[in-house]
C-alpha cells in the first residue's frame, strides 16, 4: 500500500478555470437538450458571456505575491492575471462578434461557444503555467479547440483545408516543443521553471549543448504559436480559411498565450542565459516584422492582409522579448491588450461588411465606405491608425513602450528596424483608409444587418483603443506590477 498525497492547491487560484469549464459544459448540455428547436441560439451566447464575466470577477490574486498550486506547477500572480484579463476580453469580444456571424454562415452550433471557452481555459493554463508540462497541456487544450474551430465551416472546402493545415503543422511544431521539453528535462532534471533557473544559475550559465538544443526547440514550438517567421507559413492560409470571427480570436488569444508562455519560460527559466537566446529572438524579430509587413503590402484580401499584419505585430512583440527588461515585459502586456482591442475591432468591421459565404472581403470592396457608412469607416480608420501606430491611439503607446524598451537595453539597431517597419506598415493600413474615403464605390453596399452585440464589440474596441492611447498610465502601472512577478 503506497502512500499517495493530494497536492495542495488553492481553490481561488483555479476558480476562473473551473467556472469556464463548468460553463463550457453547460453550453454543451443546453445545446443538446434544445437541439429539437432549431431556433435562435442566442441563449448560448449569453450563457458564455455570463461565464466569462464570472470568471473575470473571480480572477484575483493576493496583491504582489505569487499563489502556487499543484506542486508549484500552477502560478497565479499579477502577470497571469493580466493575461487572463486579455484572454477573457478577447473571448468576450469574439463571442460578441460571432453571434450574428455564425448565424449568417449557418454554422450556428452550440459547440462553437463551448470550444471557444475550452480554448480560453487552455490559454489561462498557459499563462499560469509554472512548469513546462503545464504550459504544454495548456497549449494543447487551446490548440485542439482552435483546430476544430478553424474547420467549423464544415461544408466549405477552404475551411477544411485550413483546419487540416493548421492541425498537421501544429502537430509538427508541438513535436518540436515536446522534444525540447524532454531535452531540457534530460539535462536539468527539472520541468519546473524556477528549478531550471536555479540549475542554470548553479552552473553559471548554459554550456551543455543538449540544454541549448532543448531551449532552441522550445523557441521553435512557441514561435509557431505566435506566428514568427519562418514558422509563420500557416498563418495566411489558416486565417483566410477560418470563419472570420475565429480568425479574430486566433490572431489575439493564442498569440497572447504564446507570448505569455514565451516570456515566462525565457525570462523566468532561462533568464540567466539571456545572451544565448537573445540572438535567436533578435533574428526572428527582424525576419518576422519585415516579412509580415512587406508581404502585407501585396495583399488584396483583407483577411490575408490582417494575417500578415498579425505576423508583423508578433515581430514587434519579439523586440520586447529581446530587450527582456521590465519595460519590455510590461510593454508586451500593454501591447497585447492594445492589439486585442484594435485587431478584434478591425475584424468586427470586416464581419459587419462581409456577406454570407465570406463575400466582400477584398480590400477594393471597401471603396466609398466613408460616404455610405461614415461611422463604420471612422471606426475602421481608428483601428488602422492604431495598428500603424499613430497617436493618440493605443497602438502608438504600445509601440512607444516596446521601442523604448529596446533602446533601454541597448538594441538601438533593432529599434530602428522596428520603426522602419512601422513606417512600411503605414502604407497598407492607410491604403484602406484612402480607399474608404477617396475612391468611388465599385459596387453597391448591401443593407447591413447589425446586431446590437457586434455594435457593443466595436464600441468597446473603439473606447479601449482610444482610452489606452490617451490615458495609458493607469494600465501601464498595472502592467508594471505584473512584470515584477517574473523575476
Amino acid at each position: 500500500m503506497t502512500n499517495v498525497s493530494i497536492m495542495t492547491f488553492n481553490i481561488l487560484s483555479i476558480l476562473p478555470i473551473l467556472i469556464l469549464s463548468g460553463f463550457g459544459m453547460i453550453v454543451l448540455l443546453v445545446d443538446v437538450l434544445s437541439s429539437r428547436r432549431l431556433g435562435e441560439k442566442n441563449l448560448l451566447a449569453y450563457i458564455s458571456l455570463i461565464g466569462i464575466i464570472l470568471a473575470a470577477i473571480f480572477a484575483r490574486s493576493p496583491a504582489g505575491t505569487t499563489l502556487f498550486s499543484f506542486n508549484e506547477s500552477f502560478a497565479i500572480d499579477n502577470y497571469s492575471l493580466f493575461f487572463n484579463f486579455i484572454f477573457l476580453l478577447s473571448t468576450g469580444l469574439t463571442i460578441l462578434i460571432s453571434h450574428s456571424y455564425i448565424k449568417r454562415e449557418e454554422i450556428n452550433h452550440g459547440e462553437y461557444y463551448a470550444l471557444i471557452l475550452f480554448s480560453t481555459i487552455g490559454m489561462m493554463l498557459m499563462a499560469a503555467g509554472a512548469d513546462l508540462l503545464n504550459i504544454f497541456i495548456g497549449l494543447e487544450v487551446m490548440s485542439i479547440s482552435i483546430y476544430i474551430l478553424t474547420g467549423f465551416k464544415r461544408s466549405k472546402l477552404i475551411s477544411n483545408e485550413a483546419s487540416l493545415k493548421y492541425f498537421l503543422l501544429g502537430a509538427f511544431a508541438t513535436g518540436f516543443l515536446l522534444y525540447g521539453i524532454s531535452l531540457v528535462y534530460g539535462s536539468t532534471g527539472a520541468i519546473n521553471l524556477k528549478q531550471i533557473a536555479s540549475f542554470i544559475a548553479s552552473k553559471g550559465g548554459i554550456s551543455d549543448p543538449v540544454l541549448l538544443m532543448g531551449m532552441g526547440l522550445i523557441i521553435i514550438g512557441l514561435g509557431f504559436k505566435v506566428a514568427s517567421v519562418p514558422f509563420h507559413a500557416w498563418v495566411p492560409d489558416v486565417y483566410e480559411g477560418a470563419p472570420t470571427a475565429i480568425t479574430a480570436f486566433m490572431s489575439v488569444g493564442p498569440k497572447a498565450a504564446g507570448f505569455a508562455a514565451f516570456l515566462r519560460i525565457l525570462i523566468t527559466a532561462f533568464g540567466s542565459a539571456h545572451d544565448e537566446w537573445q540572438k535567436i529572438i533578435y533574428i526572428l524579430a527582424i525576419l518576422t516584422m519585415t516579412t509580415g509587413n512587406v508581404i502585407a503590402i501585396a495583399q488584396t484580401n483583407i483577411k490575408r492582409m490582417l494575417a500578415y499584419s498579425s505576423i508583423a505585430h508578433a515581430g514587434y512583440l519579439l523586440i520586447a522579448l529581446v530587450s527582456a527588461n521590465d519595460m519590455g515585459v510590461s510593454g508586451t502586456l500593454f501591447y497585447m491588450l492594445a492589439y486585442t482591442f484594435m485587431n478584434i475591432g478591425a475584424f468586427a468591421i470586416v464581419i459587419v461588411l462581409s456577406r454570407k459565404g465570406d463575400e466582400f472581403i477584398q480590400i477594393n470592396d471597401y471603396a466609398g465606405l466613408g460616404f455610405k457608412h461614415p461611422l463604420l469607416a471612422l471606426a475602421m480608420t481608428l483601428f488602422m491608425f492604431s495598428m500603424a501606430g499613430v497617436p493618440p491611439t493605443a497602438g502608438f503607446v504600445g509601440k512607444f513602450y516596446i521601442f523604448s524598451a529596446a533602446i533601454k537595453s541597448g538594441y538601438i539597431g533593432l529599434a530602428v528596424i522596428g520603426v522602419i517597419n512601422s513606417v512600411i506598415s503605414v502604407y497598407y493600413y492607410l491604403r484602406i483608409t484612402v480607399i474608404m474615403y477617396m475612391k468611388e464605390p465599385t459596387r453597391e453596399f448591401a443593407p447591413l444587418t447589425i446586431s446590437p452585440l457586434i455594435v457593443a464589440a466595436i464600441a468597446i474596441s473603439v473606447i479601449g483603443t482610444l482610452h489606452l492611447g490617451i490615458f495609458p498610465s493607469k494600465v501601464m502601472e498595472i502592467a508594471q506590477q505584473a512584470t515584477l512577478m517574473l523575476k
Partner: protein, 117 residues
C-alpha cells in the same frame, strides 16, 4: 573507459560473426531463382482486390469514443489502489471526474454519436 573494453570486443565479435557468415553464404551458396521463389508469399491464398479499402468514418468515431472512455476509465485503477490514503477528498474528486465523464457520455448520446445510421 577501460571497463567498457569487453563490451567493445563483444560488439566487434558479434558484428564480425554476422558479416562473416552472410559474406560466406553469399560467396559459397548456389543461386537458382524461379518465379515462385521471387513472389512475396510462397504459400497461402492469392489476394483478392486491393488492401486500400475505404472505411466508413463511423468506425473512426466509434474507435475514438472507445479510446477516450477507455483511457478515462483506466484512470480509475490507480485511484482504487490508493483509495484509502486519498480518503474522502479523493472520493469527491473521482465523483466530479465521473460526473464530467457522464456529461460527455450524455452529450455524445444526445448528439447521436452512438447511432450507426
Amino acid at each position: 573507459m577501460i571497463h567498457y573494453l569487453p563490451i567493445l570486443i563483444l560488439f566487434i565479435v558479434a558484428v564480425g560473426f554476422a558479416v562473416t557468415n552472410i559474406g560466406l553464404s553469399a560467396i559459397l551458396g548456389r543461386r537458382k531463382p524461379t518465379a515462385e521463389k521471387l513472389s512475396p508469399y510462397e504459400c497461402g491464398i492469392n489476394p483478392v482486390g486491393s488492401a486500400r479499402e475505404r472505411f466508413s468514418v463511423k468506425f473512426y468515431l466509434i474507435a475514438m469514443l472507445f479510446v477516450i472512455f477507455d483511457i478515462e476509465v483506466v484512470f480509475l485503477y490507480p485511484w482504487a489502489v490508493a483509495f484509502k490514503s486519498l480518503s474522502l477528498f479523493g472520493f469527491i474528486e473521482m465523483l466530479i471526474f465521473l460526473g464530467i465523464l457522464l456529461i460527455c457520455y450524455f452529450y455524445i448520446w444526445k448528439r447521436g454519436g452512438l447511432e450507426w445510421d
